[in-house]
C-alpha cells in the first residue's frame, strides 16, 4: 500500500528533463529528497503535491487521482520559503488556514477544526506563540508555525520543500524530529527536501537522490548513500557510516 505513487513521471526542467522515474511513499514513512541545486527536487515536489502536472507519467494518492479539493484533504504542501504578505497574520490565523480544505465556504471553524489547530500547535511547540504575529517570530519559530499549518490540514501526506533551509542545526534537527514523530504516530507519509545528508540519514526512513535528470538512488540511507553515490549525486567526496547511535559523515 502506498500513499503517494509517482509512476514513470517525466518533467521538464527548463531545457533539460527529469525522469522518467518512479517513487513511492508509504504510510508512516519519511522520505528525504536529496540532490544538488537545480536537480529538480522542487519541480518533482510540486508534481507530488499536485500544484503542477508532469509532462508524462502518473501521480496517484492512495491509488487514485483526487480532484483539487479532495487532494487538499490528502496532501499538505509547504513550498520553499512560504511567506505571507498579510504581515499582521498571527500564528493561530496561519494554522487556521490549514483547515480551509475541511471548511464549507461560509462555515466558521467548528470544534474539530479548533482541536486540529490546537493539536498541530502542540506538536510543533508553538502553543505559546498562537497570538504572536508571524513577523515577530524567529526563523525557527516561523518555520514551525508553517509546518503546523500543514499538520492542521490533517492530510495523509506531507510534502515539504526545504523546511529546514533557514534553520540552525539544532532547530533543523528538532523540526525534522517532529515531522518524524507525526508521521509515525498518525501513519502519515512525508516527502521532504533536505540538503543535509546527516539530517536525512538520521530522520528519513528512505532517501531519494536526484542527479543528472534521474533518480540515482532510492532506499534506506545507509544502504544507498555509498561513497560513489555521494560523489556522483552530490559532488561530495565522503562516506556515511553509523557508529552506535550516531550517523557519521567522513568528508575526504
Amino acid at each position: 500500500m502506498s500513499l503517494l505513487a509517482l509512476e514513470d513521471v517525466e518533467l521538464a526542467l527548463g531545457p533539460r528533463r527529469l525522469g522518467p522515474l518512479s517513487l513511492h511513499v508509504a504510510p508512516g514513512e519519511v522520505v528525504a529528497l536529496l540532490g544538488r541545486n537545480g536537480a529538480g527536487k522542487t519541480s518533482l515536489l510540486r508534481v507530488a503535491a499536485g500544484v503542477a502536472a508532469p509532462r508524462a507519467g502518473r501521480v496517484t494518492v492512495q491509488h487514485a487521482t483526487p480532484d483539487r479539493r479532495a487532494r487538499a484533504r490528502l496532501v499538505a504542501y509547504l513550498p520553499q520559503a512560504e511567506t505571507s504578505v498579510e504581515t499582521d497574520l498571527c500564528v493561530r490565523e496561519l494554522i487556521a488556514l490549514g483547515r480551509l480544505p475541511h471548511l464549507g465556504e461560509l462555515a466558521p471553524l467548528g470544534p474539530p477544526d479548533l482541536r486540529a489547530i490546537e493539536r498541530a500547535a502542540e506538536e510543533l511547540a508553538v502553543t505559546a506563540l498562537l497570538d504572536r504575529p508571524l513577523a515577530s517570530l524567529s526563523a525557527g519559530e516561523r518555520q514551525r508555525a508553517h509546518v503546523a499549518r500543514c499538520f492542521a490540514q490533517e492530510a495523509r501526506l506531507l510534502v515539504l520543500d526545504e523546511p529546514t533551509a533557514a534553520l540552525d542545526p539544532v532547530h533543523a534537527a528538532d523540526l525534522l524530529a517532529r515531522v518524524r514523530v507525526h508521521s509515525r504516530a498518525g501513519e502519515h507519509g512525508a516527502l521532504v527536501v533536505v540538503h543535509d545528508v546527516l539530517l536525512a540519514a538520521r530522520y528519513a526512513d528512505r532517501v531519494a537522490l536526484l542527479a543528472e535528470g534521474a533518480l540515482l538512488a532510492c532506499g534506506p540511507p545507509l544502504e544507498v548513500l555509498s561513497p560513489a553515490v555521494l560523489e556522483q549525486g552530490l559532488g561530495l567526496r565522503a562516506s556515511l557510516a553509523r557508529e552506535d547511535d550516531a550517523f557519521v559523515l567522513r568528508v575526504r
Partner: protein, 346 residues
C-alpha cells in the same frame, strides 16, 4: 495594539482571522445610515432631520419632498454605491495581486474611464449625461482588457499585470492630456473636460443610479464569494492551490468583477482617488478580518467616506467648488497616517 472590535476576548476565535466582524459591521452600517440621513438634510437649503425623515417617507411639503427625493437622495445613494464599489474593489485587488498598493485604478480602469468620457465630451458636440458615461464605461472595460492581454504576453503573473496596468494607465493619461490640451482652445469645453477629470457628483440623479447600480451591486456581491480564495492567497498562489482553491478561476472572476464595478463607478462619477486604497487598509490596521468580512466592511466604510465627502462638497458649494475626491483624500490621508504611526511594532 488596541482593536476596533471587541472580539479578541477569552473565547477562541471561530473565524479564520481573530476579529469577529459582527460588531464592526454593525457599527459601520449604523454610521452609514446616519450619514445618509444627514446627507439628505444638508444642502443649499438645509432641512431639520425631522423634516428630512418625513420627506423620505413621503411627507413634508411637496417642494421639500422634491428636493430630498429627486435631488439629494439619488446623489447620496450614488456616492454610497460608488464609495462601496471602489473600496471593495480595492480590497479585493490588494488580496488578489498580493500588493498593498493596489487600488481599483491599478489595472488602467480609471484611466480608461476618464479617456472615454473626455473623448466623448470633445468629439460629440452635445454630449449628454448618457453618452459620456457610456463612452467612459466602454473605454474603462477596453483598458482593462488591454492590460490583461498585455500581461498575458508578459507571463500573466501578478507583477506583469501590475506593470501592464501602469503602462495602460499612463498611455490613457497621456491621451487624456492630449484631448484636454486640444479642448482648452474653447473655454467652455476645456472646463467641462477638466471638471470630469476631477470627478464629482454634480447633477447626478436617478437615471445614473439605475445605470450604475446593477454592475456595482452584482459585481460586489459576486466578489464576496471569493473571500476564502483571497484568505488562502495570503500564503501565495501555490499554497492556495494546495489548499484546494481554484486560483486561476478566482483570479479571472475577481479581475472581471472588480473591473466591472470600477468601470461602472468611474463612468458615473469620474475617478475618485484614495477611497479604494485607504479604506481597506484603515480596516486592516484596526481589525484582523477574514476577506469576506474585509470586503463587506470596506464596502460600508467606502460608502461612508464618499457620502461624507460629497456632503461636505454640497455644504460648501456656495463658497468653493470642491470635489469629493479632494475631501476623501484630505480626510483619509491623515487618518491613514495616524493609524500607521499608532501601529506599534510587535
Amino acid at each position: 495594539m488596541p482593536r476596533l472590535t471587541a472580539a479578541r476576548g477569552p473565547a477562541t476565535p471561530r473565524g479564520l482571522r481573530s476579529s469577529s466582524p459582527v460588531l464592526l459591521l454593525s457599527v459601520l452600517a449604523l454610521l452609514l445610515a446616519a450619514a445618509v440621513l444627514g446627507a439628505c438634510a444638508v444642502g443649499t437649503e438645509p432641512f431639520p432631520l425631522g423634516t428630512t425623515v418625513s420627506a423620505l417617507l413621503g411627507g413634508a411639503e411637496p417642494w421639500q419632498r422634491a428636493v430630498v427625493l429627486d435631488v439629494r437622495l439619488p446623489r447620496v445613494l450614488i456616492a454610497a454605491l460608488g464609495g462601496a464599489g471602489l473600496a471593495l474593489s480595492g480590497a479585493a485587488l490588494q488580496g488578489l495581486l498580493q500588493n498593498p498598493l493596489a487600488d481599483p485604478s491599478v489595472l488602467g480602469v480609471s484611466s480608461g474611464a476618464t479617456l472615454g468620457a473626455v473623448l466623448a465630451l470633445y468629439l460629440v458636440p452635445v454630449a449628454s449625461l448618457v453618452i459620456v458615461p457610456a463612452a467612459s464605461f466602454v473605454f474603462a472595460i477596453g483598458a482593462v482588457a488591454l492590460t490583461v492581454r498585455l500581461a498575458r504576453a508578459g507571463g500573466a503573473s501578478g507583477t506583469s499585470l501590475l506593470l501592464a496596468g501602469v503602462a495602460v494607465a499612463s498611455a490613457g493619461s497621456a491621451l487624456t492630456s492630449f484631448v484636454l490640451s486640444l479642448s482648452l482652445a474653447e473655454w467652455e469645453l476645456g472646463m467641462q473636460v477638466l471638471s470630469w477629470m476631477m470627478g464629482g457628483l454634480e447633477g447626478r440623479s436617478w437615471p445614473h443610479l439605475f445605470a450604475m447600480a446593477p454592475p456595482v451591486v452584482i459585481g460586489s456581491l459576486a466578489c464576496l464569494r471569493h473571500g476564502r480564495d483571497l484568505d488562502a492567497l495570503a500564503l501565495g498562489e501555490e499554497t492556495a492551490a494546495s489548499l484546494g482553491r481554484d486560483v486561476g478561476a478566482a483570479r479571472r472572476a475577481l479581475l472581471v468583477l472588480t473591473s466591472l464595478v470600477t468601470a461602472a463607478v468611474a463612468s458615473t462619477i469620474g475617478s475618485v482617488a484614495f477611497v479604494g486604497l485607504v479604506v481597506p487598509h484603515a480596516l486592516r490596521l484596526g481589525a484582523r478580518l477574514s476577506y469576506r468580512a474585509l470586503l463587506g466592511a470596506s464596502a460600508i466604510g467606502g460608502a461612508l467616506l464618499l457620502v461624507l465627502s460629497d456632503t461636505l462638497c454640497r455644504a460648501l458649494a456656495s463658497e468653493v467648488d470642491l470635489r469629493p475626491g479632494t475631501i476623501s483624500s484630505a480626510i483619509g490621508a491623515p487618518f491613514f497616517l495616524w493609524l500607521l504611526v499608532r501601529r506599534k511594532p510587535a
